[in-house]
């Protein structure tokens, strides 16, 4: 659906407006807490994430190990903090990568009539692939590294952004100020950057939040399957994969990382919903 964007520069109080909505405020506070915990992991984690303690293996949650220990006696809470760094930074990188690719494709399709059909067909074709499956195939082809996971998921999610940007660009392209800029001889790249891109920022921001949430789920899925980031690096997905083998004896190993994913994704969705309601009021009552 084409969204007529509200320019961001006219929304100086976006943060305070977001905070005035209880659900969005709750989401934002949780997100900030998780981000701070992830950034401060080396200082607040009670143990090193790789510290083995065979004597303490499969230790249930207690005061000395808040979330218990895993099969190698490693502290689950400490690992979760470090896993948050990987999971969040990979998801954020996916948002940046998919935004760059999606914006370029969307602007091309929306602004240049001749490019619309080929780019839109390419986007349609990309969206025909189920996200995890395409990501698995790309990671299999490129190799299982964090960078390749970012590239693969970025390619998977870029078409979604391209569609949103195209839809908004189609509307903005016909607005008088763009026509006026053209008539004044402003070069096309300047029109695109200064007049079009600025005004499609809102839908990009909203969509970016949802891509962030999806990327966390997808990365966890890839890591869980063992086809994503190396199992040696703690991520929430790899921790669940380890915990799966000890579900009967030590359910906490997979319970806490799973809960961390749910809380983070839920918080992102609350913030995304709030942003959409504020920046795209026509959708406010809807999904």
């Amino acid at each position: 659906m084409a969204a007529i964007a509200v320019p961001l520069h006219n929304e100086p109080n976006l943060l305070s407006r977001l905070m005035s909505r209880p659900t969005s405020a709750a989401g934002l506070v949780v997100l900030v807490l998780i981000a701070v915990a992830a950034l401060a992991a080396p200082w607040i984690a009670p143990y090193a994430p790789t510290k083995l303690s065979v004597a303490n293996r499969l230790h249930p949650p207690a005061l000395d190990h808040l979330f218990g220990t895993d099969d190698l006696g490693r502290d689950v809470f400490s690992r979760m903090l470090f896993a948050a760094r990987t999971s969040l930074s990979v998801a954020l990188a996916v948002v940046v990568f998919s935004s760059i690719v999606g914006i370029v494709l969307g602007l091309m399709a929306g602004f240049f009539k001749k490019l619309d059909t080929p780019v839109s067909r390419l986007v349609d074709a990309m969206m025909a692939f189920p996200d995890i499956l395409l990501a698995i195939a790309l990671v299999a082809a490129l190799g299982p590294t964090a960078v390749n996971v970012v590239v693969a998921l970025g390619i998977v999610y870029a078409p979604r952004l391209a569609r949103v940007v195209r839809a908004s660009t189609l509307v903005i392209r016909e607005l008088p100020y763009v026509e006026a800029a053209r008539a004044l001889g402003v070069p096309t790249p300047v029109i695109l950057m200064r007049h079009v891109l600025r005004n499609v920022a809102s839908p990009i921001l909203v969509q970016g939040t949802f891509i962030f949430a999806n990327a966390i789920l997808a990365e966890a899925g890839l890591s869980f399957l063992g086809v994503g980031i190396s199992p040696d690096i703690p991520t929430w997905g790899t921790m669940i994969a380890v915990g799966r083998q000890y579900m009967d004896q030590a359910g906490w190993i997979m319970m806490f990382p799973g809960a961390a994913i749910v809380v983070t994704v839920l918080a992102l969705q609350l913030v995304g919903d709030g942003l959409r309601d504020l920046l795209d009021p026509r959708l406010a009552k809807d999904i």
Partner: protein
């Protein structure tokens, strides 16, 4: 009508052609020699050379693409390197669990989402609406594989109601197979119901205040008749779209869920193919699933034409 069908058909063929090209390219972006990557570090140079010839990788790119397309048109997806059987056979043998898992998950998701979404919109702002909206958002935040693990732990291990994994033996009855599908289908269906619920609610909200709904009410029709016959029918097009999209998402979810529940479906086949670098299988599965998605979308477009005569392509 005929023109619309033809337009969509041409669009579908164009998208399929691009899908085929993308799948062809994906395997070729492998850094280094794909044959060497597939066979691993222990392979001899002769083995690698033989595989290169077998897969046609020693030909030029246009020749490879031409051969690939000709084979595809003949229904040949290539030969699995590790299973030593045609990819079509490998996929066909594993299609049943994936098909039923997707079907049952979609059924569960739809059966939950439609009434909840309709009621939620009808009682907008009520406690039910708020609870349903919150639950839908929560469900959309849960990784299906994690929910599956929780289900295994609770329903299979603790309560012993269902089998923990597998799809029954070779001669298992349909009921036995169904028993193996309940938990994975529930895990996938519950998570997927979130999207359909939210879209159903949104679509119903769009139509519930329309003039024809008010007219139907003023004629003294019962509320249920107004909601189901007049409002829901008109809200159906976006709902159908999202159900179609959910089917595709379910295939994606099935890849992970099958692995959790040890179901011998296409998803597990793909995961094991990735771990063994069996590219022809990955390529074939991608193509078949993306092709199915394009066909589902085409079918939904055709349904639009049947439901709403105003729709034109």
């Amino acid at each position: 009508m005929l023109r619309s069908i033809l337009n969509r058909l041409i669009g579908m063929i164009a998208v399929m052609a691009l899908v085929v090209t993308i799948v062809f390219v994906i395997v070729r972006v492998t850094p280094g020699d794909p044959a060497a990557v597939m066979l691993g570090p222990d392979a001899t140079a002769a083995d690698v050379a033989a595989l290169r010839t077998r897969l046609g990788l020693d030909q030029s790119m246009p020749v490879q693409f031409g051969r690939y397309v000709v084979d595809l048109l003949q229904g040949d997806l290539g030969q699995s390197i590790f299973l030593n059987e045609p990819v079509t056979t490998a996929l066909a043998q594993r299609a049943e669990p994936t098909f039923f898992l997707t079907l049952f998950s979609l059924l569960i998701a739809t059966v939950i989402a439609l009434p909840v979404g309709i009621l939620s919109a009808y009682r907008r702002g009520s406690v039910f609406d708020q609870a349903a909206t919150t639950l839908a958002m929560f469900a959309a935040s849960v990784p299906s594989f994690w929910l599956g693990l929780l289900f295994i732990q609770f329903f299979a291990v603790k309560l012993g109601w269902f089998d923990t994994s597998g799809y029954g033996g070779p001669g298992a009855s349909f009921l036995d197979r169904l028993n193996h599908l309940v938990l994975p289908a529930l895990a996938l269906g519950l998570v997927s119901s979130a999207l359909i619920t939210r879209f159903t609610r949104a679509s119903m909200l769009d139509v519930l205040n329309d003039d024809y709904v008010r007219t139907a009410r003023s004629k003294g029709m019962s509320e249920w008749r107004v909601v189901l016959k007049h409002a829901f029918k008109n809200a159906l097009i976006p709902i159908l779209t999202v159900i179609g999209l959910t089917a595709a998402l379910l295939i994606s979810g099935a890849v992970v869920t099958e692995t959790v529940f040890g179901l011998p479906g296409v998803g597990s086949l793909v995961v094991s193919a990735v771990l063994r670098r069996d590219y022809p299988v990955i390529q074939g599965a991608l193509l078949v699933i993306a092709g199915l998605y394009v066909l589902v979308n085409f079918a939904i477009d055709m349904l639009y034409l049947a439901i709403d005569p105003r729709v034109r392509y």
